[in-house]
């Protein structure tokens, strides 16, 4: 009794979606709301609004999806859909997530193809592209700061950059080599 009451007090028990439709709508709104980053939208819908997951669950799913290949949030839709409804859930979650953003991007693609010949449109879009490049650089600096004091990490960062950006070697070659070297360093405590 007391333990039960305490639990209810500490953290509200999660309420996973009960129907496929609910799952679909949840992922639909994650897809539609995620301007400038999917993770905040996913957190707000799944943890705060619909309470499908506890914050700890959410962190756990994110951690899993980050070390798997593929789009993280797409993987989350698969993993969670499977957990709640099996294969149908995985498919429905995935479709819900991508439905609206896909239509939006397709519309933009048609508009873009139509308008790109105008010099001002072209300049504005190119400017946004350069800004997007800046976001990558800032993200790299944020993620790199905590490991910048380790020589092995700096060597790997520089090596990947030079091989991929400057020498233009295929990632199909660079990734397995860099990952092997990274795991060697990391298992010896150098990363």
């Amino acid at each position: 009794m007391t333990g039960d009451a305490l639990n209810r007090f500490d953290s509200i028990a999660p309420t996973p979606p009960r129907t496929l439709w609910e799952l679909f709508l949840g992922f639909l709104s994650i897809g539609a709301r995620s301007f400038g980053g999917v993770l905040p939208a996913a957190h707000s819908i799944m943890v705060e609004k619909r309470r499908w997951l506890t914050p700890a669950d959410f962190t756990e799913v994110c951690a899993l999806c980050q070390i798997l290949p593929g789009p993280n949030i797409g993987n989350a839709a698969i993993v969670l859909g499977k957990r709640w409804f099996g294969i149908r859930g995985a498919i429905v979650g995935f479709l819900g997530l991508f439905a609206l953003p896909y239509l939006w991007v397709l519309t933009l693609a048609v508009l873009y193809t139509h308008w790109v010949a105008r010099p001002l449109v072209s300049a504005v879009v190119t400017g946004a592209g350069a800004a997007g490049a800046g976001l990558f650089i800032a993200t790299a600096m944020k993620l790199g700061r905590p490991i910048a004091d380790k020589p092995a990490a700096v060597a790997l960062i520089a090596g990947c950059f030079v091989l991929v950006a400057v020498a233009r070697v295929s990632l199909v070659i660079v990734m397995p080599i860099a990952l092997t070297v990274g795991i060697l360093f990391s298992s010896r405590g150098k990363l």
Partner: protein, 171 residues
């Protein structure tokens, strides 16, 4: 034929995509522009920019590229090819996660991936901002935006809008 090539390539890329789409952008550009010549470098950069302004996972840039290369069918094939192989792995692995979670290997792999992804993100920034010969105006926009992201808490949508305005003025 082009649909099959597109599908196979993005399916391969699916297995190399860690930490979001950013780290594989240079590789995508290398294949689409340099190897296949399906778009120009400037066009690739603009498609990337258009995708950034859409809500949703940034993997949608693949549908834009697919659309440019092979129309609506191309947009579907590219997106599904990039997602499905990884989704199959996620499906298979999610059951094993409980056991793997406590494994020391999880930490080893996470630590090994971090510097790779940082290097590749720098490469993505450089590749996108340098479609042709180095252009100080594009680099300026990129650096101002990067500084904006590091020093303010603005939503990245506003930073992209700022870049668009600067582009309209400078380019």
């Amino acid at each position: 034929m082009i649909l099959i090539q597109l599908g196979l390539y993005f399916a391969l890329l699916s297995l190399l995509t860690f930490g979001g789409l950013g780290p594989v952008i240079p590789e995508m550009q290398r294949y689409i522009v340099d190897v296949k010549g399906w778009t120009t470098p400037g066009d690739f950069m603009q498609l990337f920019a258009v995708a950034q302004t859409a809500p949703g996972p940034n993997v949608l840039v693949t549908s834009l590229i697919g659309y440019r290369v092979a129309g609506v069918a191309g947009s579907v094939v590219a997106l599904l090819a990039l997602c499905l192989p990884a989704a199959a792995i996620a499906w298979a692995v999610s059951g094993l996660w409980e056991r793997f979670r406590e494994s020391p290997w999880r930490c080893v792999i996470q630590r090994a991936l971090a510097p790779l992804l940082v290097g590749l993100m720098f490469a993505a920034g450089y590749t996108i901002a340098t479609p042709h010969a180095p252009d100080w105006r594009l680099w300026l926009i990129a650096l101002v935006t990067a500084a904006g992201m590091l020093t303010t808490r603005l939503n990245s949508v506003w930073l992209l809008a700022g870049g668009a305005v600067l582009g309209g003025i400078l380019l």
